[in-house]
């Protein structure tokens, strides 16, 4: 019997997911064959299917990986200056929005979630983890007096996510949309949100 090496397995899974994300971002979910994913991962079909028995399983795993990444960074978001960490998070999301490959991948996941309740449920959980990160940072910033009196973390997080998701949507539907111009406005909104009490 072959010995199972969990570390090697995790590395294999990571390699496959990276290859799948790259292929889906380039050619779309339905435009990508499992043969292409195998080639990109440098892996045999038998090996790929051992880890992920279908393309659907790959999309599910990609969404789960994103959620796990949010969970994994929870502790790091609980230490250090909350306002700066929030600024970094916003910059990170703005960089994703400016990346056509990321946009395509995210749209493919969204389109699959409309069809497939298993994927929709995973996307919702990922979204919850993302929102918790924003609410947590805003709450912590408010506790440190970095927000005006009467500040409420949850609605402010809703607004911030609305701005980011709006920028994502416009970048998807409007080829003339300039993510940079809106990034300035979004940064200003974050700054206004956390303006210290005078």
């Amino acid at each position: 019997m072959r010995k199972v090496d969990p570390e090697r397995q995790a590395a294999q899974r990571g390699r496959i997911l990276e290859a799948a994300a790259e292929c889906f971002a380039r050619r779309g979910f339905h435009g990508t064959s499992t043969a292409e994913i195998c080639a990109a991962a440098g892996m045999s079909p038998g090996n790929l299917f051992h880890y992920y028995p279908s393309k659907e399983a790959l999309i599910e795993a990609l969404v789960d990986a994103d959620r796990q990444a949010w969970a994994g960074r929870r502790r790091s978001l609980e230490e250090g200056d909350a306002a700066s960490l929030l600024g970094n998070l916003v910059e990170e999301e703005l960089a994703r929005i400016s990346d056509p490959g990321y946009r395509r991948l995210a749209m493919e996941v969204l389109a699959e979630s409309v069809r497939n309740p298993r994927i929709a449920e995973r996307v919702a959980r990922d979204e919850t983890a993302r929102k918790e990160a924003f609410v947590g940072l805003l709450r912590r910033a408010a506790k440190r007096g970095q927000a005006p009196a009467g500040f409420q973390a949850a609605p402010s997080a809703d607004w911030l996510l609305l701005l980011l998701d709006g920028a994502f949507s416009r970048a998807v539907v409007d080829p003339a949309f300039k993510p940079r111009a809106c990034a300035r406005r979004i940064r200003a909104a974050v700054a206004a949100m956390l303006k210290e009490v005078p």
Copy 2:
């Protein structure tokens, strides 16, 4: 030979599209059978296929109808107080965003557009018509002195559409999202945008 009655044909098409929109909003594009659309439209399959040979053709026609509606109201948006008309347009979009049936239909169209370049092209044209309406109204408001000095219509329209599409996205992905709370902020953004020069 049967005489073709263009008015009757247009009415039939309208009836089918209304039935299809209702079915897609309720059960999704792939969850809806043509038999269900026939029943909802009170029409035989032969009659339905005469007008729309496939479900794809129905989605395409729904997007085209939306674009034509934008074109049809162009003249009415060129008359009357631009700032009030813009306010009405924003209210109309906010009402759509609060309607789960509309959200589902819009998501189904978006998901199909990810798969199908013919639909993607139509969605892009519809989106252009929508944006032109916003830019036109903002430009007209600025000409009448209803905007501060240095006001630029196109980036302001981009921002407004970002807010509306962001609200739509959040309503789709977050069951706890409250469209009303964000509607207040969006109205405030419109008001701030068009604040007259003091």
